[in-house]
Amino acid sequence: MLRYTLKRLLSLTLSLAVASMVIFAVIEVAPGDPASFMLGVNAQPDTLAALRTELGLDVPKTERYLTWVGGMLTGDFGTSYTYRTPVSQMIADRMWVSLPLALYALTLSTLIAFPAGIYAASRRGKPGDIAVMGATQLGVAVPNFWFAMMLVLVFAINLRWFNAGGFAGWDKGFGPAMQSLTLPAIALALPQAAILARVMRSALLDVLGEDFMRTARAKGLSRRQALWRHGLRNALIPVLTIIGLQFSFLLAGSIIIEQVFYLPGLGRLVFQAISSRDLIVVESVVMLLVFAVIVVNFVVDLAYAAVDPRLKSRT
């Protein structure tokens, strides 16, 4: 297990190093100068030069890259070009919205997908299965921003149960904060739940055809008992993979949902920073998201090994 973990750690570090280079290169190459964006069309050349010096944009790119990476290793992400506040502070503030939102959505999606997937697998080919599969087909097809707009229309504009958007802030208490995250979490969760339910169902069906399931039935377990005791655990591997991917997606991919619900989260920060060419913010947030994805994958890898001991010896 230790060797397995070390190997995984090494590949994690390498991935991060490569990612940091690619991110920096790609973002610096994109046209658009942060200083001229900030000063607009009437700025005079000497003013622009003064601002570039102030922002450290006149330093060579390799040097900027090394400063950036070096800073990140010590937890210093630099200072935003436009907001002039430390990037680490901005990310931490936004994390308090994006992370709870991602966890909330993931919890909802799992709570919906597991029962739905198990139910459908146990009713294979029967009307219950067909109904669940039809619903998930719809869930996969509907884009989450459209779904979000429908939720706003019904629950915010017509019924007035929720605000149309915005974040109450954790200082207003747990209830109001969770309430302002509820519609976005549902909008994020339902398409994910649809995918997860389908994966759950097909993984279970695969397992149900295995020899050990027949053995379990042969030794006297009912269909349902065999499913719960032996089937579910073995079906979890593909499901875990999807959950891992979905968590990264929820963290990084809620840009549109954060726009629709105007939530001050990470996605919105990236969106604003890209349009204002706040390069250092874009680079740092993207790097952080890559880091999150890689770490989640690492954890999922470890979880595989826990669920399926055969993986430990194989590597």
């Binding site: 100068d33 700025a43 002039r84 506040t85 007035r160 605000n163 915005g166 802030g169």
Partner: protein, 495 residues
């Protein structure tokens, strides 16, 4: 007599009770939404209009200020005298003005602010506003003398810009995140990505505002903007991004729609140095190929006033020159043939993000195609637009709204991105700048408008409308937008 007294007393009692009741009910806070969040809160070191939209006249004040109708009135300066030759302005400052941190505002702060804006390492986005100043002298704490190189008829107007507000040396270091001004509202907090809070400044030198608290919320998505207003999450949406939804708000008694004018001349900017646009016949052909009303209707859902030159129609000196470039595709084709492009030509059309450009661009490309001009559309972000189009001058056509007030002077700058180089126009602007007589100025401005219109420098489309939605009870908002601002000092809730 006794009865009359009793009745009067009862009436008075009832009146006072109802007054008390309305006072208790009357809302004293407001939530104003806008599309863009300011990058920081220092109006003197960035071009972002979103900064002025939050802090102008609310937090920061200048020597003079804009009113909602575009008039320039005294701000921190109580009065002023102008020397006979027009080069020396002596400002008398209001007494008893303090900054939000308690320090006194006096002549030294004025000198500091103006010197900072025009200094060598100044980060002021509109440094040119101050370039004519040769000296700022503090005569006494409440008197400041400003000397100009040459007379400048626009000087009081220049001082009203958000870029010319008075700041204090004591608080300048933190100004970007903790703005300390002299205004009727104090900065109270900023949740980045979400909102900015202001609260009433109890020590304000002028009239106390009716509002105690104001919150600015930032909602960039047009659909979300619609939902936020409909769900009554916000009280005002300033600069409403989805004009197609306005009729729905107009029909709803809960809301009022404010349609005003802005200083934004929306133009089809043309690269005057890039062939074939260096030929005035080609530019004229483009002008006649464009159906302005179709663009206003199609891209702006009818909001916007057609213009025929680079000047705001609500300005008294405006001349209606739309006739110079009336929609006439046949004439456009004839002009193209005369210029040697009977079969048309290909060019580029760069479109920045605002919907006037993206939607308008599609319509213009189709209209140009009618006369044989193939305009290849490239959608760009602002940062990219600034680099490629504005600084790189690497474009054929682009659509942009020039929102600075009274900016016809840009046509006197041959290096400006559309590269119009006409010595006669440049001379006209020099004369204008040194003219202070209002009638004479109007005449010169009329000549300038006619000159660029007849030179077909750019395709003149329409004046951008100021569109806002507010709850029915909100009063005192600016309808027009002479500068980027949400002046809340006169805003209140109707009973």
């Amino acid at each position: 007599m006794g009865h009359a007294f009793k009745h009067t007393f009862q009436a008075a009692l009832a009146l006072s009770v109802s007054l008390l009741a309305t006072q208790a009910i009357a809302k004293s806070d407001i939530t104003v939404a806008m599309q863009l969040e300011p990058p920081h809160l220092d109006p003197t070191s960035a071009a972002a209009q979103a900064i002025d939209s939050v802090v102008y006249t609310n937090v920061f004040e200048g020597l003079t200020r804009f009113m909602g109708d575009g008039a320039i009135v005294p701000g921190l300066a109580e009065s002023w005298e102008i020397s006979d030759d027009g080069t020396v302005y002596t400002f008398k400052l209001h007494d008893g003005v303090t900054f939000h941190d308690g320090t006194t505002m006096d002549g030294e702060d004025v000198k500091f602010s103006l010197d900072r804006a025009r200094s060598e390492d100044s980060a002021n986005a509109q440094k040119a506003l101050f370039s004519g100043i040769t000296e700022v002298e503090v005569i006494d704490p409440l008197t400041v003398k400003i000397t100009l190189k040459e007379p400048n008829g626009n000087f009081l107007f220049n001082l009203a810009w958000g870029d010319a507000v008075i700041v204090a040396p004591e608080s300048i270091d933190g100004i970007k995140t903790n703005p300390i001004g002299t205004g009727a509202f104090k900065f109270a907090g900023w949740v980045q990505g979400d909102k900015i809070d202001l609260e009433r400044n109890a020590d304000y030198w002028g009239d106390q505002p009716a509002l105690e608290k104001a919150t600015f919320k930032f909602i960039s998505d047009p659909t979300a903007a619609f939902a936020a207003v409909m769900a009554e999450d916000v009280d005002v949406f300033s600069g409403f991004p989805a004009p197609e939804n306005l009729p729905q708000f107009e029909a709803d008694p809960r809301f009022q729609v404010l349609v005003g004018s802005t200083e934004g001349e929306t133009i089809l900017s043309t690269n005057n140095k890039q062939p074939p646009f260096d030929d005035v016949r080609v530019r004229q052909a483009v002008a006649h190929a464009i159906d302005r009303q179709a663009i206003v209707d199609g891209a702006m859902f009818g909001y916007g006033t057609p213009i025929g030159t680079h000047f705001a129609p609500h300005h008294p000196a405006y001349v209606d020159l739309t006739g110079n470039s009336a929609y006439d595709p046949e004439k456009a084709k004839a002009l193209l043939a005369e210029a040697g492009f009977a079969d048309g030509f290909e060019t580029t059309l760069h479109l920045p993000p605002p919907s006037y450009a993206r939607r308008g661009g599609e319509i213009i490309a189709a209209q140009l195609a009618q006369v044989g001009i193939k305009a290849e559309i490239t959608n760009v972000e602002w940062a990219q637009w600034l680099e490629t189009v504005f600084r790189g001058k690497n474009f054929g056509l682009t659509i942009v709204s020039h929102t600075e007030p009274m900016d016809i002077g840009i046509y006197a700058r041959p290096e400006y991105y559309f590269q119009y180089d006409n010595p006669a126009f440049q001379e006209l602007m020099t004369t204008l700048n040194s003219t202070t007589d209002p009638d004479e100025r109007s005449k010169l401005l009329g000549q300038a408008q006619t000159m660029i219109s007849e030179d077909y420098v750019n395709g003149y489309l329409f004046q951008l409308a100021a569109l806002s939605v507010a709850k029915a009870g909100v009063q005192g908002l600016w309808v027009n937008a002479p500068t980027a601002a949400n002046d809340l000092t006169a805003v209140s809730w109707a009973d």
